[in-house]
Amino acid sequence: MNAIPELDNLRQRWQTQSAPATDVAALRARVAADSRNNVRTLVVVALGTLAVLGFTLLRAMRSDEPNTWVSVVFVTCFAVLVWLVALVLSRGTWRPRDESIAAYIDLSIHRCRSVIFAAPIGVVFYVAGLIGSLAWRQRLLGVEWQQLLQAPEMIIAGWIGAPAYAIGMFINARVHRRRLGFLEKLRRELGED
């Protein structure tokens, strides 16, 4: 290969490119920061779930109304269900089966499919959580539907939040569908001799 004069000429030209301004120390520092951020994100989501559970539990313990324990059961079941579904959907998306390019493309394809599949499920969960919370307030605390539907938190989380969340999930799924198409085509082409 080295004996191809044209390639040698191209190599010379290729290797005269200016080196990246980033140095290794800067890269190392940013890798450390990125790694910390990845862990932080997971911790924040887990802490968020625990905070919601803790708040519901605390409220039930302080309340004289025995029905508030129903909300603890509902919130706990809901949180467990969401985490279980998230874990099931992310199965096989953590790392490639080996270090080959084909394995990495397969992993990316799997991740895209997972995100596309998760989009409608996420919307269903959001709406189910919202309806569950309203139904609990209406049935157990006796708040009127009219009053519930016009409450500021319902306007933010429901009337604005639900469509915004659904649109966000839809756009994300669309982006991943396009990426999936690209990756599937790439996998086919890279496999060709």
Partner: protein, 168 residues
Amino acid sequence: MTDTVREQRFLALLNANLPALGRLAGSYAGNTGERDDLLQEIALALWQALPRFRGECSERTFLFRIAHNRCINHIARRRSMDSLQALELDPADESRPVDQALSQQQDSARLTDAVRRLPVIQRQVIVLALEDMEYHEIAEVLGISESNVGVRLNRARASLRKLMGEGP
């Protein structure tokens, strides 16, 4: 692998290959900012993958595999479908004369630009060949046969010639 060993290997690999990785990233990125971001992604992927390195291939092969995977992910995110489509050369490019007075820097920039416009399947092979890799090393990085490397490399060179307006 202890953290100290991981750190030493990581820094040694990056120190030895940073210019080559920069050029590789540059062939998948539209500008220097994007290239530096991609370089950062490659560094992070290397850091995460190092504990899985079992010595089945050379560290350089391992590094370039990771780098290529990151680059493919990068273009998938950018939805660069055009890079996969059959190469359609711009007639203006074919007839573009080679300006002998171009500086070395401009010349290499033109080459990078041409490499960037190659389909991924050809770009992968030519970039590794331009980094002084032998057929068997390229085959190892890309997970294809050596004869396949030869075929793709020939196609890539022919495409480059057309793109740069240098010869038939």
